[in-house]
Every structure is written in structure tokens, then in C-alpha cells.
Symmetry: C2
Subunit: 78 residues, 2 copies
DNA sequence: GAGATGCTAATCATAGTATGTAGATTCATG
DNA sequence: CATGAATCTACATACTATGATTAGCATCTC
């Protein structure tokens, strides 16, 4: 799943948002992973734009960050 | 992937939005599928909440409907 | 009959999950 | 200063569960 960002803008936006909100809340990848019920390395892969995440995991991560899911798909400069 | 909606609210919201926006634009499932570059039955499966769609296909369908992707994840009564 | 949708099943590609290693950073503590 | 422990992250695989895609037939409405 290399170069996914070239094909899909959303993957990139999602990655940036997850990392941004996570750091904003002072969470490590591992802490966020535990809250969301996913594996430690999975969060890293998402932030590196290596995975084509599904809507179910978008929801889990949004909840773990205390956000509405659509916020993770919204470009911050809009 | 039955009873997906019980575990994931977003699947249900996404399904309702796709159907709602599609009908609003007077498109058949087949017409939307062609625009989005997916198969006819796949749109049907999404609208019936049978699939855990990936972010890449969310983007394709959003583009086909002339929408921003986040709009498909946003509950209409907010 | 024609068009649209539901539904099943089957195959192929890949998302989800996990393990292990390595490098970078921070922070004590001698 | 060292240097050693602890934490965080990147990265390389690998397995298996399931998402993506297609074909075929049924149902329903007009």
C-alpha cells in the first residue's frame, strides 16, 4: 500500500488530522491505540499514510479522540 | 458483514447519506456506480449497510456526488 | 417488456492485526 | 559529562479476516 496518498487525498488528510489531534491531546501512538482498541503499530501506519482505513476504524479512532468522525476527514484549511 | 450497523453508527449514517444525496440528484444506483467507478451492486450493498467501506471508496463516491467526503459522514440532524 | 434494486455466491486483493528490530529522544544518576 | 534505562516511533514482514469486484437471478414497479 505504498504511494496511497497519490491516489487518495483523504488518506493524507485523515493521517494529518489523527496525528495533529493526538499530539494536541498529548497522547502517544500507543495510548491512542489502546483507547481505540487497535494495535500500537496500526496508528503509526495510518499516520504514515500506509493504510486504506475503513469507516469502522475511523469511528473508533474518532471516539478515542473525543471527536465526531467527520472532523477527521475535514481539511483544516477550509 | 451482517448487522454491521449495530456495531458502527457511521456505516448507517454513510448509507443514508449516499442514498439521500443520490436520489436528490435523480441518479440510479447504476448511474452513481458508473460515475464513481465501482460496480452497480456495490452501491446497493453500501446503501443496505452491508459493507465496511474504506476511505478511498468514500472519496470516490463523494466526488461522484459532487460533495466533500466529510459530508457523507455527517448526520443530517446536527 | 423495461428499468431499477435486492440478494447470493464466488474470487481476488488487501485491510486488520501482530511480532520483532532499530533508531531517536528524554531523563535520571553516578 | 557519560551511560544506561525507559519511552516513542519507524519499519519490515507475515498471517488471516474481510473489503472490493463481478456474475447471475429474483422481485417489484411502471
Amino acid at each position: 500500500m505504498k504511494n496511497l496518498s497519490q491516489k487518495c487525498i483523504l488518506v493524507s488528510i485523515f493521517a494529518q488530522n489523527v496525528k495533529s489531534y493526538r499530539l494536541q491531546q498529548g497522547l502517544s501512538q500507543e495510548q491512542l491505540a489502546e483507547r481505540a482498541g487497535v494495535h500500537r503499530t496500526y496508528i503509526g501506519m495510518l499516520e504514515r499514510e500506509e493504510k486504506n482505513v475503513t469507516i469502522y476504524n475511523i469511528e473508533r479512532i474518532a471516539i478515542a479522540l473525543g471527536l465526531e468522525a467527520y472532523q477527521l476527514l475535514k481539511s483544516k484549511n477550509d
